[in-house]
C-alpha cells in the first residue's frame, strides 16, 4: 500500500488502554522481559498502532476528523481505550 501515490494523506492512529484498565498483554510482556534478564523494566503497556491511507483526501483537518470518527465507530473501544490521531502526508 502507501508505497506510491502523490498527495497521499495518511493518518497514524495510536490506541492505548485507559488508565486503570487491566492490561494482561503488557503485564505478560513485562514479566517475560524480567525473565529474559531485562531488570530495569518498570512497566509495560501494549496498545495498537494503525495507519490509515486516505488517498482521496488532501485536507488534513478533514482527514483528521474523519479518522477520529473511525476510531469512535470501530477502531477503538472507547469504554476502555483512548485514541489519538495524527495526520501526515
Amino acid at each position: 500500500m502507501s508505497e506510491s501515490s502523490e498527495k497521499n494523506v495518511k493518518a497514524k492512529v495510536h490506541i492505548t488502554l485507559k488508565n486503570g484498565v487491566l492490561d494482561p498483554q503488557g503485564k505478560a510482556v513485562e514479566h517475560a522481559l524480567h525473565g529474559l534478564g531485562f531488570g530495569g523494566v518498570g512497566g509495560v503497556r501494549q496498545g495498537k498502532y494503525i495507519e490509515v491511507d486516505l488517498p482521496q483526501q488532501s485536507d488534513k483537518a478533514k482527514a483528521k476528523s474523519q479518522v477520529e470518527d473511525m476510531c469512535k465507530a470501530l477502531l477503538a473501544n472507547t469504554v476502555i481505550e483512548n485514541y489519538s490521531v495524527e495526520v501526515v502526508d
Binding site: E3, S4, A32, G35, L36
Partner: protein, 731 residues
C-alpha cells in the same frame, strides 16, 4: 520476455537445477528458457513437486483396497466409509518455514493441508499434527515449541476445525531442523468428489481466494539480475496465514460444490499458480493460456515470474464448466473473496502466459512432465545393531524408574499443547486428545472416524525397515485400541539428504517396511508427502516417516477409552512379550534410565500384530472390555499408569517378573484391557492363538507391585508438570 534476465550459470544454479537437469530443459524446449520459464522448470522439477528421489520407491507402496476410492496422486486420498460417504485425508510437512518463523510456518502448514482436503469436496472435520523438536535444553527449542503450537492453534481454532490429536517428540537431531507435519481429515458425499484433471478446451480458468503477494517466492529470485535494484522492497517474504479468509474460502467452496459448475479444482499449494495450473493441465492432457494481467495482486509492479512462483496462501484454481462464471462469481462475492477469470484451457498442450500483450512463457506441458527427472539414487542399507540383552541393562527400583519416565519429555502429558487447540468445535469430538486415537463422530450419525499419527524415529534410525513397519503398526494398534477398524494411512516421509547413500538407504528401507506392514494389515497408503534435505550443517534428523491412520467405528456406543472405569476389574495383558525378559533395545527406559541409545529396535511380527489386534477389536465391539490401551513408549508400567491417571483409579499388579524388560520393555503388538469378565477375554485370546495373562486388578488410588507402591497423585504430578514447567521457564 522483459528486461535483462540472462540465464547465466549462476541463475540456473540458484534455481536448484543441476547441469544435467538444465541440459534436459534445453532438450525439451529446443531453445534457452527465459526467466519465467526457468522458474517454472525449477519448481516443477523440484524435489517437492517431482518426488524425483523418492518416486521409484513410493511406487512400491500398496495403494489399493476395495474401499479405496482414490489413492495417491490427487490432492488427498479418498476412502469409502459406507452410507455413501467418503473420508478424505492427507498429511503434509511445513518443516523449513516453521523453523524460520514458527508461528506463521505452522499456521500456513495447517492452512495448506486443509485446502488439499476441501478442494476435493470434503468438509474438514479434524486436524492432527505430528511435531518434532530439538533437545529441550537447546536454546531455540522452547521458542519453537511455543510458536508452532500457537500457530497451529491460531489457524485451526479460527477456521473452526477441531485439532484432535498428534504427537510431540524431542531429540537433539532436530535442533536445527524441526518437523511440523499437519494432517486434515474431511468428510464428503461419494457422489460429490472433485478432482484436479482439467478438461474441455475453452473452459474458463478461475482464480479465487486472496490476492497474490510476493510471499515465499523462491529464494533464487534474490540472486537474479532482475531483482538487484530495489531488493529491499522485493525481498522474498515469509508467508503469513489468514485463517479468516481460509474459513470464508471453505464456506464459499462448499457452497460452490453444491452447484454443478466445477469441472476441476485444485488449491494453490507450494509454488502456487505454477504447480496448480501446470498439474491440472498435465493431468487432463490439456493446454492452458493465462493472462497474467488478470491475476489479482496485492502489491504493485509484480512480474509474471513473481506471480507464478508466489506462495501466497488461501488461493484456489478452478476450471469451470462453460458459461458458469456468473454462478461462481456470485458465491465468491457473497463471501467477499477475490474472483477472477485468468484464462482458459486450450488443446495445444502448451502453457502460454501473456503479460501486457506479450507472450512471456510458452512451454510444452507433457514433455516437461515426462522429462521430469527421476533418480535411482545410490543407497546402502543401514548397519543393523545386535539385539540388546535385557539382562545387561541397569536395573533401578520400578517406582523410581516409572516416575522418571512419566515426567520425561517424550512421555510427559501433552496437555499444555492440546489445551491451546480447540478440539471440540463442530461438536463431534467423541474422544479428545490424550487417548490412543482421536474419535470424531460422523455428523448426525452414530458412527465415527478414529484418527491417529505415530512414528518412533529412534527405531527407524536403528533399523529403518523395522521402524517403518512399526510406525504403521502403531497407528493400526492405536485405532484398534479405541475399537475402530483401521482403513488406510497417509505418510509423511521426513528424511535428510537423499544424495547421501546412507540417508537414501533409510528412505528405501523405511518405505519397504511401511509397504510390508500395509500389505500385511490390509491397510493401504492413500496419500502422503515427502520432505527431504532435513539437515543442518550436514547432520541429518532422525529418519521420521510419520504415519497418519484412519479407521471407522461402526457404533460409537462401543468406543473404548484408556481410562480405568471402576475398582475391582481385572487387568489383562494381551499379546506376546519377549519370552526371555522383554525388549529394551532402543526403549525409552534404556535412554532415560540407563542413558543409552542402542540395540535393535523391537521387531514387529505382523501376523501376530493382526491376530492380537483383531481379538482386541472384537472384544471391544462385543462390550467385553471396559478400557483398552496399547503399549508403546515406556512399555507396560507407563501404559498402566496412563490408564490409572485417566480414570483416577489405581491398580495392584501381580504375576509379573520384576525385571526392567518386563515392566518397561517395548515389545510390539500388545494391549492392556480391563474387564469384569476375565474368563471371556482369556478364552477369546486363546482361541485366536494370542497370549494373554491376568496381571492385576483395579483398586485404590495408587499403583502397587512387588511390595512397593506409588500414589497416583505423585505420578500425576510428574506427568503433568514437565511441559508447563518447561515452557514457563525464561526464554
Amino acid at each position: 520476455m522483459n528486461k535483462v534476465s540472462a540465464i547465466t550459470p549462476e541463475v540456473i544454479k540458484t534455481h536448484g537445477l543441476s547441469d544435467d537437469e538444465y541440459k534436459r530443459v534445453l532438450e525439451v524446449l529446443g531453445r534457452e528458457p527465459n526467466l519465467v520459464e526457468l522458474g517454472i522448470f525449477s519448481v516443477m522439477w523440484s524435489e517437492h513437486c517431482s518426488y524425483k528421489s523418492s518416486k521409484k520407491w513410493l511406487k512400491t507402496l500398496p495403494t489399493t483396497a476395495p474401499w479405496v476410492i482414490c489413492g495417491p496422486g490427487e490432492n488427498a486420498g479418498v476412502i469409502d466409509i459406507g452410507e455413501g460417504l467418503a473420508a478424505i485425508f492427507k498429511m503434509e510437512s511445513h518443516n523449513h518455514p516453521s523453523f524460520i518463523e514458527p508461528y506463521q510456518g505452522a499456521a500456513t502448514g495447517v492452512g495448506g493441508i486443509l485446502r488439499d482436503v476441501f478442494t476435493m469436496g470434503a468438509r474438514p472435520i479434524a486436524n492432527m499434527n505430528a511435531l518434532r523438536f530439538g533437545d529441550p535444553k537447546h536454546p531455540k527449542t522452547r521458542h519453537l515449541v511455543a510458536g508452532v503450537v500457537a500457530g497451529i492453534g491460531g489457524y485451526g481454532n479460527c477456521v473452526g476445525v477441531p485439532t484432535v490429536g498428534g504427537e510431540v517428540n524431542f531429540h537433539a537431531s532436530y535442533n536445527g531442523n524441526i518437523l511440523v507435519n499437519a494432517m486434515t481429515v474431511g468428510l464428503a458425499q461419494q457422489d460429490k468428489i472433485f478432482y484436479s484433471a482439467a478438461a474441455g478446451a475453452g473452459n474458463p480458468v478461475v482464480y479465487v481466494g486472496s490476492k497474490t503477494g510476493r510471499d515465499g517466492i523462491h529464494g533464487a529470485t534474490m540472486a537474479s539480475a532482475e531483482f538487484d535494484a530495489n531488493s529491499e522492497e522485493k525481498r522474498p517474504t515469509v508467508q503469513v496465514g489468514d485463517p479468516f479468509t481460509e474459513k470464508l474460502l471453505i464456506e464459499a467452496c462448499m457452497e460452490l460444490m453444491q452447484t454443478d459448475v466445477i469441472q476441476s479444482i485444485q488449491d494453490m499449494g507450494a509454488a502456487g499458480l505454477t504447480s496448480s495450473s501446470f498439474e491440472m493441465a498435465s493431468k487432463g492432457g490439456m493446454g492452458v493460456e493465462l493472462d497474467m494481467n488478470a491475476v489479482p495482486c496485492r502489491e504493485e509492479g509484480m512480474t509474471p515470474y513473481e506471480m507464478m512462483l508466489s506462495e501466497s496462501q488461501e488461493r484456489m484454481l478452478i476450471i469451470l464448466k462453460p458459461g458458469k462464471e456468473d454462478v461462481a462469481r456470485k458465491i465468491f462475492e457473497k463471501w467477499e473473496l477475490d474472483f477472477a477469470v485468468i484464462g482458459h484451457l486450450t488443446d495445444t498442450g502448451r502453457m502460454v502466459l501473456k503479460f501486457n500483450g506479450e507472450t512471456v512463457c510458452d512451454l510444452p506441458i507433457d514433455p516437461l512432465a515426462q522429462a521430469s527427472p527421476e533418480y535411482d539414487r545410490p543407497w546402502v542399507p543401514t548397519v543393523k545393531q545386535a539385539a540388546l540383552a535385557s539382562a545387561s541393562v541397569k536395573d533401578v527400583p520400578w517406582p523410581e524408574a516409572l516416575k522418571t519416565l512419566m515426567g520425561c519429555p517424550d512421555i510427559a502429558s501433552r496437555r499444555w499443547v492440546w489445551e491451546q487447540y480447540d478440539h471440540m468445535v463442530m461438536m463431534d469430538t467423541a474422544q479428545r486428545p490424550g487417548g490412543d486415537a482421536a474419535v470424531v463422530r460422523i455428523h448426525r450419525s452414530n458412527r465415527a472416524l478414529a484418527i491417529t499419527t505415530d512414528c518412533t524415529p529412534r527405531y527407524v534410525k536403528a533399523d529403518p525397515f523395522e521402524g517403518g513397519k512399526q510406525a504403521v503398526a502403531e497407528t493400526w494398534r492405536n485405532l484398534t485400541a479405541v475399537g475402530a477398524r483401521p482403513l488406510a494411512i497417509t505418510d509423511n516421509l521426513n528424511f535428510g539428504n537423499p544424495q547421501k547413500p546412507e540417508i537414501m538407504g533409510q528412505i528405501v528401507e523405511a518405505i519397504k517396511g511401511i509397504g510390508e506392514a500395509c500389505k500385511a494389515l490390509d491397510y493401504p497408503v492413500i496419500s502422503g508427502n515427502v520432505s527431504l534435505y532435513n539437515e543442518t550443517d550436514g547432520s541429518p534428523i532422525l529418519p521420521t516417516p510419520a504415519i497418519g491412520g484412519v479407521g471407522i467405528l461402526d457404533d460409537l456406543d462401543t468406543m473404548a477409552t484408556v481410562a480405568f472405569k471402576a475398582e475391582g476389574e481385572t487387568l489383562l495383558l494381551i499379546g506376546q512379550t519377549n519370552e526371555k525378559d522383554g525388549w529394551l533395545g532402543q526403549s525409552l527406559y534404556l535412554r532415560e534410565i540407563a542413558g543409552q541409545e542402542k540395540g535393535a529396535p523391537p521387531p514387529v511380527d505382523l501376523v501376530h500384530e493382526r491376530k492380537s489386534g483383531d481379538v482386541v477389536r472384537s472384544l471391544i465391539r462385543g462390550g467385553k472390555v471396559t478400557a483398552c490401551h496399547d503399549l508403546a513408549d515406556g512399555g507396560l508400567l507407563v501404559a498402566v499408569t496412563e490408564m490409572a491417571l485417566a480414570g483416577n483409579i489405581g491398580c495392584r499388579l501381580e504375576n509379573l517378573v520384576a525385571k526392567p524388560g518386563v515392566l518397561f520393555g517395548e515389545d510390539q503388538g500388545r494391549y492392556l484391557v480391563t474387564t469384569k469378565d476375565a474368563g471371556t477375554v482369556e478364552a477369546a485370546a486363546k482361541q485366536a492363538g494370542v497370549s494373554v495373562s491376568r496381571i492385576g486388578a483395579t483398586t485404590g488410588k495408587a499403583l502397587s507391585f512387588a511390595g512397593q507402591s506409588v500414589e497416583l497423585a505423585e505420578l500425576r504430578r510428574m506427568h503433568e508438570e514437565w511441559f508447563p514447567a518447561y515452557m514457563a521457564a525464561p526464554k
